[in-house]
């Protein structure tokens, strides 16, 4: 049996005898980030506890607490339960499971390691994807008694999806199967067949016992049939991602423009890939302007060269436009720019994807508004027989993985995720709650985006507006069905018409007879309804008109989306504030009655929510004023009209 109590590393003697030599050795260490994943009882926490223990990352007082805790709540009888070292939060100590990503640190003589401990539960896929996103390597644990499980397949698929190329298959608890080579070989063969089927080209398999310490730091006498490497040897020698990135073309997303005075203008960022030297000709995307790098500035003195993974500040020979969100790249091999993409999304939030809704998309240092289409398919990661197969879906729920098309409101500088994590990986942020709702990986630009360009025209929207002697406006009426939106909008338009203003009223019901006759009342259709009306209102405002729209437009996010489309100050949100009881009592079209009877589904205020505006430009209360009074009130707020 492997020695369980003696740390294996020889560093301690060196520390005591020659601290300077030790420090020099430590200074030169590289860093490897890896994740451990497996099913609930595969022994992940025990393995990590063991690695910390063996590398002297546990102090005596912690060890005493550990021994004490092991006896109280441990699952290993009188022996040390290493898992207790790793399971941090109170809730999970009670439940005895890991429920969030935890980061651990240990050193060997060659490397510093950061371990992301990832949970095994299905509902926490998001945590695993989080841990995997920064990992160079994944250790997939298998309980030798159980073999390849659904969880094993799911985690392997996710690791492969996130682009981890170094996969370690750690067949754990070998002590519980008598260190039987056949058990090991069968599991490896089983896993190899599955790995090939999902595109994993290569993996390294090891027979270990995290509990007993076999093949962790030294080859175990219990497995004479296994010739190595040990787990730690493998972790110490495998190539890290940042080394691979250094050999790719130069790209640096600009984070911040450094301008302490008029004589200095530098562009700060973390080099994503490649290397840069003074004298290099670089191109700034998306503008495409080129210049020469004159200085690579750091506090410790200027550098001649910098590589992927370093945070630097670059100075150029020319005063070209360059700001946060731009990407500096080698001039003769720049990345592409597009505004329509195919991408894989991993949904991370309880609130499912709203097809058509605008989310913030953050990629590198670029933040743009993006709308997502209905998924082409979702990937099955649950069915044991078909991990990786495709299923149809209308949306993406928590932990779902799907392939979608998405469009951004501005061009994005990007590279396919497979080529460049920094320019292909993104997150989606809900515009109202600010939650991070999804992680995404860009596959490629859709052709239609590459071939559709803006055609410049000579007569501008300012010219249109000047001819009409008015400032274009979009008067966006929102409120419950029966609140009085159409009636009041009609009154307002009549008054504007008498004032010789050029107007047009877009009414909810009317638009659904034509432009939007293909849309129903599901949430996705309602979002698309508003998007189209927003686009039409924008075109009309560009033509110089004062546009009035009367739509329930129940969701804040869509009203904000339209607000973003229209120049600042021209979008006027008018909240027709009528209590539900009043609107229902009026029930001009008899719709509330039908909805209450269950004959009308997705009716706002009954079985579909209305999100009132938080800060509308104008509010009218129709329980207190007549339609005419409301219209007068609105006109007064709008003056002057030019």
């Amino acid at each position: 049996m492997a020695d369980t109590n003696e740390p294996i590393y020889q560093t301690e003697a060196l520390i005591a005898e020659d601290i300077d030599a030790y420090l020099t050795q430590h200074e030169r260490k590289t860093m490897l980030r890896f994740i451990t994943c497996g099913s609930v009882d595969d022994g992940k926490s025990t393995l990590i506890g063991r690695l910390l223990y063996d590398s002297k990352m546990i102090f005596e007082d912690q060890l005493a607490a550990l021994e004490n805790d092991s006896r109280k709540v441990g699952t290993q009888g009188q022996e040390i339960d290493f898992a207790l070292l790793v399971d941090g939060l109170a809730a999970e100590r009670e439940q005895g499971i890991t429920i969030d990503v935890a980061y651990r640190f240990f050193n060997t003589e060659k490397r510093k390691f950061i371990v992301a401990d990832c949970p095994g539960h299905e509902q926490y896929t998001r945590n695993m994807v989080t841990g995997a996103s920064t990992a160079d390597l994944a250790v997939i644990l298998i309980d030798a008694r159980k073999g390849v499980l659904v969880q094993t397949r799911r985690h392997s698929y996710l690791c492969h999806l996130i682009g981890i190329r170094n996969i370690v298959l750690a067949v754990n608890k070998m002590d519980l199967v008598g260190y039987d080579q056949k058990v090991f070989d069968d599991i490896v063969a089983d896993y190899a067949a599955f790995a090939r089927s999902i595109g994993i080209e290569h993996f390294t398999a090891l027979p270990i016992s995290g509990f007993k310490g076999d093949n962790i730091t030294t080859l175990s006498d219990n497995t004479p049939w296994y010739k190595g490497p040990t787990l730690v040897e493998h972790l110490e020698t495998v190539e890290v991602l940042s080394s691979v990135d250094a050999d790719k073309p130069f790209r640096m997303p600009v984070q911040w423009v450094n301008r302490p005075n008029l004589d200095f203008r530098g562009f700060s960022g973390l080099i994503a890939t490649g290397r840069v030297r003074t004298g290099d000709t670089v191109r700034v995307l998306p503008s495409g302007k080129t210049s020469t790098v004159t200085r690579i500035v750091t506090l410790g003195g200027d550098l001649d060269e910098a590589v992927a993974g370093q945070s630097v500040t670059l100075c150029f020979a020319d005063e070209i436009d360059c700001s946060r969100g731009d990407v500096i790249a080698i001039a003769d091999n720049p990345p592409q720019t597009s505004d329509q993409f195919e991408a894989t999304l991993v949904w991370l939030n309880d609130d499912a994807l709203h097809v058509g809704r605008a989310y913030w998309l953050k990629l590198g240092t670029q933040t743009v508004s993006a709308t997502i289409q209905q998924p082409k398919y979702v990937v099955n990661v649950n069915d044991p027989s078909g991990v990786g197969s495709h299923l149809a879906a209308k949306t993406l729920d928590l932990n779902a993985i799907g392939v979608v098309e998405l469009a951004t409101d501005r061009p994005v500088v990007f590279e396919p995720y497979a080529d460049n994590r920094a320019l292909g990986g993104f997150i989606l942020i809900d515009k109202i709650t600010n939650a991070t709702v999804a992680a995404g990986m860009l596959h490629f630009s859709l052709r239609r985006a590459q071939n559709v360009h803006w055609q410049p025209t000579d007569i501008t929207r300012a010219d249109h507006a000047a001819l009409k002697n008015q400032t274009p406006r979009v008067l966006w009426f929102t409120g419950l069905s029966g609140a009085g939106k159409s009636t009041i909008a009609n009154e307002v338009e009549k008054r504007l018409n008498l004032m010789n203003r050029h107007t047009f009223l877009l009414d909810g019901d009317n638009v659904r007879h034509g432009l939007n006759k293909d849309l129903g009342f599901t949430e996705a259709d309602r979002i698309e309804n508003i998007r189209r009306v927003g686009e039409v209102a924008k075109l009309m405002a560009d033509a110089g008109l004062i546009v009035l729209t009367a739509f329930i437009s129940p969701f804040r996010a869509e009203r904000d989306m339209v607000r973003q489309m229209i120049p600042a100050g021209e979008f006027i949100e008018i909240y027709v504030d009528t209590p539900l009881a009043v609107a229902e009592q009026r029930d001009v079209k008899g719709l509330y009655k039908k909805a209450r009877a269950g004959e009308l589904k997705n009716f706002t205020g009954i079985d579909s929510p209305y999100e009132p505006p938080e800060a509308p430009e104008i509010r009218v209360n129709t329980a207190e004023m007549s339609a005419e009074e409301a219209a007068e009130h609105i006109i007064r707020q709008l003056l002057p009209l030019k």
């Binding site: 420090l23 200074e27 102090f59 399971d87 969030d100 980061y103 050193n107 250094a246 302490p260 994590r421």
Partner: protein, 303 residues
Amino acid sequence: MTSLTHLQRLEAEAIHIMREVVAEAERPVMLYSVGKDSAVMLHLARKAFYPSPPPFPLLHVDTTWKFKAMYDLRDRMAKESGMELLVYQNPEAAERGINPFDHGALHTDMWKTEGLKQALDKYGFDAAFGGARRDEEKSRAKERIFSFRTASHGWDPKNQRPELWNLYNARKNKGESIRVFPISNWTELDIWQYIHLNDVPIVPLYFAEERPTYIWEGQLFMADDIDRLEQVLGARPEIVNRSIRFRTLGCFPLTGAVESTAKTLPEVIQETLLTTTSERQGRVIDKDAGGAGMEVKKQQGYF
């Protein structure tokens, strides 16, 4: 093929994080406790924005019970870095004369936890850098680098934002804030080594020297301000000169010293590595509420 060392990668990561905050937050601030982690964080900030000074102030949430050497270094570093220094002392704690002897956990709660919340609210900071590391304590191992706080400064460990690649979501609503931990992934050894390699100025108390000391409830302390000590202890403790240093720095009556002869950084590192007790053990805060002390404190708004 080039491989950056682990310290180069950690440094680049911390700088990247700081620049993201400056680019996306409206009013960032750096919490500065004058300890060695703060020292490294400040040095990284100066690197991140050079040749500009870091574009945010330093905030010291003071308890009035820090070592004199800490106040000296604090003022010197603010001057050297060209940054504005804000010192905040909770007026209620001052008025009630809260001290570490008579009030125990209340001392930390009033001066530090409450003081921090008050200071952030007073100046309207929406992002605060802190020097916490994930290797310090179990609940910190799970905290995000950008850690979101509610308008009442609460932390909800079950509802943290997923943090992927190096993409940080700094968006928040009015009144909400984020705590940002740029040196999350550093270990104690990394901190020491970085100080060593970069000549980062730290409080001399980290190095061994003959200092006036006393024993209180079995622990070794330094008599930094003997008159004030006598007031709160009710008696003048017996002072003996010993060669001591500190592994961690906080309020002087709460921070235990260790006997040591380590006068240089390599010697300090050597001692640290060969020692058998973990860094925070000299501090009381982790163990207050059983195994989950720090987690509970964080939910209440402690850093």
